[in-house]
Symmetry: C4
Subunit: 102 residues, 4 copies
């Protein structure tokens, strides 16, 4: 259980880090044409896989799209891992109760 | 198992609450320019991470986008948690059968 | 394990049913202005939560959007349930191996 | 555990394969009108279910949309399976610790 808890905290820290990296990265790759909040928002809708659309115009900006692939793999991957650790934490606490009753 | 069932019901209640908050919030933040149903629809496609696009025009409305981040974290987070509790409920009932046969 | 397998098959049948209902529903609600394939495609990108955009124009069609909420809940819900049963099937087969070795 | 690890590696290989197939497929189905990277990007946002929009214009290209359904089922299905194997790997390692302590 301790191991899973460490994974859970690690995933949360990674998620915050991905948002910081994403916000700075989009700001840099668009030459500051978008507000810091828009760069954060683009990162968020990517990591959460909501994907309303490319908040940051990227049709002529392959570097920004490559960065999006990087943020997507890292961010959405970490988010899925986070939910896995939540499931395992629930299984663990549930299983302990079941085994104790036997 | 009782604990997980309580979590499951809690998640369902939270999901309904998020939709009520989202519908009211978008209505307020857009000065009533959208129908109640459109505000609900915007909340739904966000929480379900379908994200067809921003139903509510928000390019010049950072407050509405911040609210979207809030609804996304709360709603999509709760939805994932709900599916975790469903998985754990299935594991539990399956495991009970397996252990009983031993 | 038999119970979980039945859930898995049930979810697959439900997914096919949702696509049939979605295809017919969108065709009906748009007065046949879209091809059968476009109606199926709209259903698919909703159930899979890909959500490129509203393939079917629905800005002035609240009935079609209400139908989308219905398809989204039923379809995406069933898909998530399907993945839960896959996880449980893997846990079960894995656990059997672990317990056998003890 | 060995079985699950094999599934995990298999899913990773399949994910890479889907991206190769997707990139070539979109290039072919659009007559080379899009860059290789755009074809890869369209595959990626489909498999990750981010779905910003149809990067590849497909309104008049039902073959490309049928290919998208194929890539979506194969790719997003494999990705979900991958996350299932990660969850099971965590459950397994966690369970081993719990049972050892009993
Ligand atoms: K999406
Ligand atoms: K979208």
């Amino acid at each position: 259980p301790l191991q899973v808890q460490r994974y859970l905290y690690g995933a949360l820290i990674m998620l915050v880090a991905v948002h910081v990296i994403g916000t700075f990265g989009y700001h840099l790759l668009t030459g500051g044409r978008y507000t810091w909040f828009d760069c954060f928002y683009m990162t968020f809708i990517t990591v959460a896989t909501i994907g309303y659309g490319e908040i940051i115009e990227m049709t002529q900006n392959p570097a920004a799209r490559m960065f999006t692939v990087f943020i997507g793999i890292l961010g959405a991957g970490t988010l899925s891992f986070l939910f896995s650790t939540v499931t395992v934490t629930l299984v663990e606490s549930d299983l302990n109760g079941t085994l104790r009753r036997r």
